[in-house]
């Protein structure tokens, strides 16, 4: 049995009286693509931020490649992040840097590559996400939302990570652009042989990019199965969510 690249063990997180994560257990094997689905406010983003080390859990443990990184700091945290890529919901591109400087940020600031070599690598990576070199010198504000997502994807894959997190990768995109982003995610994740953890509401996206789908509800993973089985999960919560029905055990968040 291989060591999971990521393992969350009984992870808990509270904000005051709001108990957001109530014992999340999740394992992701190397090369596996797991999609986490769940309604608004179910704790998906908080779970992701805990896994990334942007938040520290109040309880439980987080393991990366078998090492406990729950409270890792300094070099240990940096070593973990060097092997991780992240695509943020908003893209989170740095406004003050050009597209190529965004893509090559880690190469320039962490790996200390020369600007000419870093730019060459950035343009090569932009090509992988179907963006030409003409985009490289533009600023994020000068390109469309879909292009920003692709640039963010390029930034997350440039250092060939072992694990990539995707936070709502298709939110705010038209269906055609969203599908193109899904294709790129699949192509790049499989090309790298990386594991992927995606959180999304978008079921077509989940069905397309997932090996496994897990559902987070009220701070716990309540179901996990193969993507192909999601329509016959036998779980009322999953059934309501994947079919997008207002009636059912999950109360709409309004």
């Amino acid at each position: 049995m291989t060591t999971p690249i990521l393992r969350l063990q009984n992870v808990e997180k509270r904000f005051g009286k709001n108990h957001v994560l109530r014992g999340v257990d999740l394992e992701v094997q190397p090369g596996e693509s797991v999609v986490i689905i769940g309604g608004s406010g179910s704790g998906k983003s908080v779970m992701l931020k805990n896994a990334l080390g942007l938040m520290t859990p109040d309880g439980g443990k987080i393991f990366f490649n078998g090492k406990d990184v729950t409270k890792a700091t300094g070099g240990a945290r940096a070593n973990m992040r060097d092997r991780i890529g992240m695509l943020f919901q908003s893209g989170a591109l740095f406004d003050s840097l050009t597209v190529w400087e965004n893509v090559a940020f880690r190469l320039l600031n962490s790996d200390r590559l020369s600007r000419s070599m870093a730019k060459e690598r950035a343009i090569e990576t932009l090509r992988k996400v179907r963006l030409g070199p003409d985009v490289a010198n533009l600023f994020p504000a000068e390109i469309s939302g879909g292009m920003q997502k692709r640039v963010s994807l390029a930034r997350s894959i440039i250092s060939e990570p072992d694990l990539i997190f995707f936070d709502e990768p298709t939110t705010g995109l038209d269906p055609i652009t969203a599908d193109a982003i899904n294709d790129l995610i699949l192509e790049q994740v499989r090309g790298l042989g990386a594991a992927a953890v995606t959180i999304t509401h978008d079921m077509p996206s989940a069905r397309k990019i997932a090996d496994d789908i897990a559902m987070l509800f009220e701070g716990r993973i309540i179901w996990r199965g193969k993507a192909a089985e999601v329509d016959r999960s036998g779980n009322d919560y999953v059934d309501q969510f994947v079919n997008g029905r207002a009636e059912g055990p999950i109360q709409p968040a309004i």
Binding site: K49, L52, G53, L54, A78, R81, D82, I84, M86, F88, Q89, S90, A92, L93, F94, D95, F105, R106, N109, S110, R155
Partner: protein
């Protein structure tokens, strides 16, 4: 203040209100102190980002030249007029150059520069970092193994403590020239005598005290901007509130530190 207990009529219990306000103040001071210590450690230990520091020196220092220059010339001019008016009551008009240069170098050059930059720079830093916080750019920095303390806050802090003294030297020179302009062309002073009196009167210590204040004001302005931006809440209102808080906080702290430093300088005879 929602946790403060209320009486039967719904008015807050005064003791509970004072207690909650005091606790709130202490926790805010504690958070700001920890944040400041982390920024200073990042600023004075490797690794540094020279390109970011240079970029911030241009933004904080170079682009503040017009506002600092204009403010200084008008302050110097108004100071000369008022000293002339006050001095004429005692037949002491001849002291205009002496008091203008003393007031500008020891006090007004640094204070005016500090207040102008509290508005222009501290609020700007806060709005920029606040926007980065709410658009997840700071989270993105961390995931890319770059510390926001080293990449964002330390360069602004270093740029401010380098730029402020240079701006204050400029404000001193322009402020004195503002007084000279009004005195020579409006009040009938002889240009050579005015300038000779100014140079004979001003001491190295007068200039140094202003420069020490400038370094402290630079630190206060950058720290308040970074701190409020880092704590910015989501949305346009949150970022706007952070900018307002940083500007007001920096301005008040500039004036408070000015008083403390002036007292210390007088006590030690500097």
């Amino acid at each position: 203040m929602s946790n403060v207990s209320t009486n039967k009529r719904g008015f807050p219990n005064p003791l509970a209100w004072i207690g909650a306000a005091t606790l709130g103040l202490f926790s805010e001071v504690g958070r700001l102190s920890v944040f400041s210590a982390r920024v200073k450690i990042a600023a004075f230990t490797p690794r540094w980002y020279p390109a970011e520091i240079w970029k911030q020196i241009i933004r904080i220092g170079f682009f503040s030249l017009p506002v600092v220059g204009l403010s200084a010339v008008f302050i110097g001019a108004a100071l000369a007029l008022n000293i002339y008016e006050g001095g004429s009551r005692y037949g002491a008009e001849q002291f205009v150059p002496n008091i203008v240069v003393l007031g500008i170098t020891r006090e007004l050059g640094a204070v005016i520069t500090g207040l102008m930059l509290a508005g222009r720079v501290s609020a700007g830093i806060s709005a920029e970092i606040g926007a980065m916080r709410v658009t997840e750019q700071i989270d993105a920095l961390e995931t890319l193994s770059a510390s926001p303390y080293r990449y964002l806050y330390a360069p602004r802090f270093l740029a401010a403590i380098i730029s402020l003294p240079l701006l204050v030297i400029l404000a001193d020179i322009i402020g004195v020239m503002g007084g000279w302009l009004v005195s020579v062309y409006g009040l009938g002073f002889d240009s050579t005598v005015y300038l000779r009196n100014t140079l004979d009167f001003v001491t190295r210590n007068d200039v140094i005290t202003g420069l020490i204040k400038a370094v402290v004001f630079g630190a206060v302005i950058a720290l308040m901007g970074c701190y409020q931006g880092d704590r910015s809440e989501a949305g346009a209102t949150g970022v706007g509130r952070a900018a307002t808080l940083s500007m007001v906080g920096a301005a008040v702290l500039v004036l408070a530190f000015n008083y403390v430093l002036s007292t210390v300088f007088v006590e030690i005879g500097l």
